[in-house]
């Protein structure tokens, strides 16, 4: 695949603004009639065990290396949490880390310390000057993320690790942010993003917002965004005239379905100053259809995108879930992929070409035992023939006396050379996406129990058939306590 060409025909700023305004108006009218709520779906419970299914790392992840991401678990106001964690293995350097989190009246924060810990650092959130501030690791999101807070995948409208409602705390940059909500929204940000010193500001009122981001050296980007109901749009322009515009909405559809549509257009040369690896495709269109009823869930997705001429991709997926966790739920899915899923310059571009995938998962629980089984296969032929990747996984969880919980997860996989495979593990306040390849098996045994007024959790990681160095262990102890009675603040 060819890299996107830098040559492009700059668009006149007046034309870009006119296009953005058209998009904004279009979305405004669409969102108004939908009557849908502005709030998105609630984030997943990050304290639960990670899914059995393979996960996709973000584009900034180094290919073939593990990737760690912090979960966005909240603690109640007035609570303080301390956590001590250690880990190691026969051929793995021991790692110790400590974390302190607190949530007080108007100030909350966390400090994580540990040699070699990629998540080490501090983050502070609080209220100041009539607004909210954040210092430390930042992952803000403006509008639909064209300038700040882009989703990781071309087909996604929401970013799971960007913005306030995200389930994970992303690592877009480090710096300081101040935001004031209300009729007039004011937001300023300054910090280091993607090895650049950046500063920006955004003003918003009535759902419309205008923002600008400038880097040391003169590079600039502007953002015009609009949000109303379940519809939103954003247009972004850089100093060179390259632009991107994206709009999307979600609304109720016949048959109790929920329809989501988003589309994007722009120059292939546009690169986000703050997150260049998440710039995504220059053109994309995605349609989602979902229905959730008692005991049934059906979701369909069709998406096509183009990073640059000759670097396009598409994806169509259908997933059906029937049943409940108590009586056993079955999930069946089919998917077809074509082309590239990542920008060609990205380290985790993955293989292009044609892929058919199919998966089935069953999970249920009874008598203190929970069992989940999953099998998925991907092939380069139709109906997943000529398999390039298969993953079979099982997880058993047992609830014992005195709050003891035992969970064993076993996964067997086979991936052809060049196929990426990431499986998620839960560790102290984070998910670790393990990069795997070839063929193998691994088992993770996790034991949790109350201890010392807190919770003790240990895990043993075994790779049957591999060298003894593949054995790893972790031990964590977490305790939460109330630091004092917080003053009740009027919303």
């Amino acid at each position: 695949m060819r890299a996107p060409r830098a040559t492009h025909r700059p668009i006149a700023p007046a034309r870009a603004v006119a296009l953005a305004a058209t998009l904004v108006l279009a979305i405004g009218s669409g969102g108004a009639g939908s009557g849908a709520r502005a709030a998105g779906p609630p984030p997943p419970a990050t304290d639960s065990l990670p899914p059995l299914a393979p996960v996709e790392p973000p584009p900034e992840a180094e290919e073939g290396a593990d990737y760690e991401i912090e979960t966005a678990e909240e603690i109640a106001p007035g609570e303080i949490e301390v956590e001590f964690a250690a880990g190691g293995g026969a051929r793995v350097a021991p790692r110790r880390s400590q974390r302190v989190r607190f949530s007080g009246d108007g100030l909350s924060g966390s400090v994580r310390e540990g040699r070699g810990d990629p998540l080490a650092g501090a983050a502070l959130d609080g209220r100041a000057a009539g607004g909210d501030f954040a210092i430390g690791r930042l992952a803000p999101r403006w509008g639909r993320g064209l300038v700040l807070g882009a989703p990781a995948d071309p087909w996604s409208a929401e970013a799971g690790d960007r913005g306030e409602r995200a389930a994970f705390r992303g690592r877009a940059g480090e710096g300081a942010l101040w935001r004031r909500a209300g009729p007039l929204v004011v937001e300023t940000v300054a910090g280091r993003f993607a090895r650049r010193d950046l500063a920006g500001a955004r003003l918003g009122a009535g759902g419309l917002s205008v923002g600008a981001l400038a880097a040391r050296g003169g590079a600039r980007q502007g953002s015009l965004a609009f949000e109303r109901g379940a519809g939103s749009a954003e247009a972004a322009l850089d100093a060179g005239g390259a632009w991107r515009a994206e709009a999307g909405f979600a609304r109720a559809a016949p048959g109790a379905f929920r329809l989501g549509v988003h589309a994007r257009a722009g120059h292939a040369a546009f690169r986000s100053l703050a997150e260049p690896r998440r710039s995504g495709p220059a053109r994309a269109a995605t349609v989602t259809l979902a229905r959730r009823a008692a005991g049934r869930r059906i979701e369909a997705l069709a998406s096509a995108w183009r990073f640059a001429p000759g670097a396009a991709g598409a994806r169509a997926a259908l997933e059906l879930e029937v049943g409940s966790a108590h009586h056993g739920a079955v999930v069946l899915g089919l998917e077809e992929q074509r082309g590239a899923r990542r920008a060609p310059a990205s380290a985790s571009a993955g293989r292009g070409g044609f892929r058919h995938g199919a998966w089935g998962e069953w999970r249920g629980g009874a008598a203190g035992v929970t069992l989940a089984l999953r099998h998925e296969t991907w092939g380069e032929g139709r109906f997943a023939r000529r398999a390039v990747r298969t993953v079979t996984a099982a997880r058993a969880e047992i609830e014992g006396p005195y709050g003891i919980r035992l969970a064993i997860t076993h996964t067997a996989w086979r991936a052809r050379r060049g196929e990426n495979l990431y499986l998620a593990d839960r560790e102290s306040g984070r998910w670790v996406l393990r990069a795997l390849g070839g063929a193998g098996e691994r088992a993770r045994i996790e034991l949790g129990a109350p201890a010392g007024g807190g919770a003790l959790r240990g895990s043993l990681h075994l790779s049957p058939g591999a060298a003894r160095g593949a054995v790893r262990w972790t031990l964590e102890w977490t305790r939460r306590a109330r630091a004092g009675t917080p003053r009740v603040r009027a919303p």
């Binding site: 058993a396 076993h410 063929a439």
Partner: protein, 302 residues
């Protein structure tokens, strides 16, 4: 109980004697001749022997005392039970096997222990297994471990000793099953999550399965991953499917398996606390293998 069940296993797993030739001793020539015969038999069918000493002659979806030792599928019913297992692979006397498994359950706790002897003096090994877990009507889970000692390697002088001793190996794993509603059952077993010392006779991967039953008729599907087959193109998993029919105290079942394609038939009958079960498996190249179990104790599968 299966010492070296034939070509039923995955294509990459190797029988114990292939991995480590028997040590030379006084009867080395005779042992070598038998080993050569066995190797030729294995090579002919292009798939390895299975090494599941405590595998019961029963459908794979049924928990039980021997199944707890074999795959960690603890029985739903408590009480005490005793099972005697015997088998012969490919009709070869050198590949005979015998063993005993005892189980006990109180409340939700389940425990089992067993001993088995597989093969003759030159090829065989002794195995001891234990399982500990919990089970109720709706589900169960257990950890299981098996230690093996090659008789020929242990008797021979100068044999290179592993970390657990000459010809001694151990493995441990787990299994769990769940019946979320009457007639349905799903299970998972990973018998070799941990191994140490002499390699087990068969590398066993993750097994998942689902079974449904109604009016005495049951059907099941099983998928087993094949460990250690890196670089193999395509999906190298092994699959099995079967049906069983229950009529009064008797049951009969039929299984079909791939890699290589083969079939097995089983019969079981119960009289009071005594159950007799037998299973015969055909092979496309070699002669049939047969297993027999005599169980005294708890009622049949839930």
């Amino acid at each position: 109980m299966t010492a070296a069940r034939p070509p039923a296993g995955p294509p990459t797993a190797r029988p114990r004697d292939v991995a480590r030739p028997p040590a030379r001793s006084a009867g080395a020539r005779a042992a070598c001749a038998r080993a050569t015969t066995f190797l030729l038999a294995i090579a002919t069918c292009a798939a390895p022997a299975r090494g599941r000493e405590f595998e019961p002659p029963a459908p794979p979806c049924e928990p039980g005392t021997a199944a707890a030792l074999d795959r960690g599928l603890a029985p739903a019913a408590g009480g005490a039970s005793l099972a005697c297992l015997a088998g012969r692979r490919f009709g070869l006397a050198e590949l005979g096997e015998r063993g005993v498994a005892a189980g006990f359950g109180a409340g939700a706790l389940r425990a089992a222990a067993g001993w088995a002897r597989s093969g003759d003096e030159s090829l065989g090994w002794d195995a001891a297994g234990v399982a500990l877990g919990v089970a109720r009507d709706g589900g169960g889970a257990a950890l299981r471990a098996v230690a093996r000692r090659e008789r020929a390697a242990a008797a021979a002088a100068g044999t290179e000793a592993g970390p657990l001793g000459a010809g001694v190996g151990a493995e441990a794993g787990f299994g769990a099953w769940l019946a979320p509603r009457p007639g349905w059952r799903a299970w998972a077993a990973a018998p070799q999550v941990w191994t140490r010392g002499a390699a087990p006779p068969l590398a066993r991967g993750l097994e998942i399965g689902v079974a449904a039953a109604a009016d005495g008729l049951a059907a099941w599907l099983v998928r087993r991953s094949v460990p250690g087959a890196a670089g193999t193109a395509g999906d190298a998993g092994a699959h099995a499917a079967g049906i069983s029919l229950e009529a009064g105290p008797a049951r009969a079942w039929l299984e079909g398996m791939d890699r290589p394609a083969r079939a097995a038939i089983g019969l079981a009958a119960r009289a009071g606390a005594l159950e007799v079960a037998a299973r015969v498996e055909a092979h496309p190249v070699l002669r049939e293998s047969a297993w027999l179990a005599l169980t005294l104790g708890r009622a049949g599968p839930p």
